[in-house]
């Protein structure tokens, strides 16, 4: 009997040792599950912040973007992020490779959007890029830049094709990530930067005053004080062609085209997929006049009531008749949102939209559209 036990123990030990040597399946890749992932440029910061995460922004106190216990968010904004490839024609006359944070590892985690999807395994993804998407690009190094939003020619066809292709790929990448997420593509409200950006001294030499996408119908004069129309430090000076061979095209028209392309990608390629949807970001900031506005009436009147241009008051009837102050919704750069724009206008709608996608209480599907 003792011999039998010894023999059995020996066999078991051998089998165990063999199993350990051969090994099982490889361990699954590490993940940090979050319910929501937001990706995009510096304006997309506000989308992630409204959902409770500031992302990697230095020098602000914790709690700048209060989170809810109901869901978790990872905010992966990257400054100047664009999906469209190519070489940017900078407003200061220089060129720079397009910062494609979707396909080139970016941020302190050095991840692509595909990597982010696999690591954070979101259930909802929010995509938003716009300001740097609409800048002229070189796809080949012919002159003038052969990618131009706001035009109505082959240059527009080139850049629209490149953008829609990248957006299509990004949506597919997220949709195939492990937790079968809903993908919300946020369209873009109008912007009206009064001067070229970024300010000298705030970025490395060579890229200061490198972006200017005014809303005006014709070439405006820089209001400064950081950059002139000639991309030198200071104020004044009219918009001029960065390459000398392009015409002025308003960001108003460019964003109309970009937003139309977002709708086209949804309807043409994901029309039958209810988990791909356009979040109507612009509806809440473009006002009743469908234009750039500093002031917006507070929800639910943001897209139905026009603030008085002098008093900035809103005569409302919903939820009850009265007069309420309009909200200064944009930052002084007239592109980013103000704290009130993020918290009191964007957040109520985006939170209700995301809750509806996560199946949480307080969800309002109509708030997405």
């Amino acid at each position: 009997m003792r011999k039998f036990i010894l023999l059995a123990a020996g066999v078991l030990l051998s089998v165990g040792t063999l199993a350990a040597c051969v090994g099982g399946p490889p361990p699954p890749p590490p993940t940090d599950p979050h319910d929501v992932l937001t990706v995009g440029d510096s304006v997309s910061f506000s989308l992630g912040c409204a959902l409770g995460d500031p992302g990697e922004i230095a020098g602000i106190p914790p709690g700048s973007c209060p989170s809810t216990p109901d869901y978790s968010t990872h905010n992966d904004w990257v400054g100047a992020c664009t999906m469209t490839p190519g070489t940017l024609s900078l407003y200061n006359g220089g060129t720079a490779g397009a910062p494609n944070c979707n396909s080139v590892p970016a941020g302190s985690r050095n991840l692509t959007w595909q990597d982010e999807a696999n690591f954070f395994v979101p259930r909802v993804v929010v995509i938003n890029t716009a300001g740097w998407e609409i800048q002229d690009r070189f796809f080949s190094f012919s002159q003038p830049p052969d990618g131009q939003w706001g035009a109505n020619n082959q240059f527009f066809n080139n850049i629209a094709a490149q953008y829609t292709n990248q957006l299509f790929n990004a949506i597919n990448a997220f949709r195939s990530s492990p937790r079968d997420p809903v993908v919300l593509i946020a369209n873009a409200p109008y912007i009206d930067p009064p001067q070229p950006l970024p300010a000298p001294g705030s970025v490395p030499a060579g890229v200061e005053c490198s972006w200017w996408e005014p809303n005006d119908g014709g070439p405006p004069v820089s209001q400064g004080p950081d950059c002139t129309g000639d991309s030198t430090p200071g104020s004044g000076g009219q918009w001029r062609s960065p390459t000398g061979n392009t015409s002025y095209r308003s960001s108003h028209g460019k964003l109309d085209q970009l937003n139309a392309m977002i709708n086209q990608v949804k309807s043409q390629y994901f029309g039958g997929d209810p988990k791909v949807q356009v979040f109507n970001f612009k509806k809440h900031f473009n006002g009743t006049n469908n234009d750039y506005n500093d002031y917006v009436c507070p929800p639910p009147n943001d897209f139905t009531v026009t603030p008085d241009p002098l008093t900035h008051n809103c005569a409302i009837t919903n939820p009850s008749p009265g007069v309420v102050p309009a909200i200064l919704a944009r930052a002084p750069d007239k592109g980013h949102l103000s704290p009130a724009g993020t918290t009191d206008i964007l957040k109520p709608y985006l939170d209700q939209c995301v809750r509806s996608k996560l199946g949480l209480g307080g969800g309002v599907p109509a708030s997405c559209t």
Binding site: I57, S338, P339, D344
Partner: protein, 161 residues
């Protein structure tokens, strides 16, 4: 009989002493009743916040009166709503003001925005104190809630409520 009288006398003394003590306690309680919130006793159905409400309602009335009558003539003008004036308050706490831009000023409150290259701006809330601004809060989004900005002023200066 004498024993009964003695017992009655003792009882009277005891009652007198107890009454004095109770009266003293009651007086002490009256004297110490201030604006503070009293400890809530089990079974007490009186709202404990009533005294505080009374006190806080009375206080602003006293201080508000002179402001209402005198303000137009003597109230100091709001400090200038300029990058420089706000930057003077911002610099000691947060440093470089090169990318600071005044956003809006109203009713003795102000906001500024600070650019950060390609990143999103941060924001600062200020309150006027005499002829200068004082930094109240600095944030990227939740800037003004709970900081005392009047509700009719907050939206006009881009403040979250």
């Amino acid at each position: 009989m004498r024993r009964v009288t003695a017992r009655v006398k003792r009882m009277k003394r005891t009652l007198l002493t107890t009454g004095l003590l109770l009266g003293g306690l009651a007086l002490a309680a009256c004297g110490s009743a201030g604006p503070g919130v009293q400890a809530r006793q089990a079974g007490d159905t009186t709202p404990t916040t009533t005294p505080e409400t009374t006190t806080t309602t009375a206080a602003p009335a006293t201080t508000a009166a002179p402001a209402t009558t005198v303000a137009p003539a003597t109230a100091p003008a709001q400090p200038p709503c300029t990058d420089e004036a706000l930057g003077a308050a911002y610099a000691p706490q947060h440093g470089n003001t090169a990318a600071l831009r005044a956003q809006s000023c109203e009713g003795g409150w102000a906001t500024s925005s600070e650019g950060h290259g390609y990143g999103p701006p941060t924001f600062t809330l200020y309150r006027a104190e005499g002829d200068h601004w004082v930094v109240v809060n600095h944030s990227a989004a939740k800037l003004c809630e709970g900081q005392g900005v009047p509700p009719d002023v907050a939206p006009r200066i881009g403040c979250d409520t």
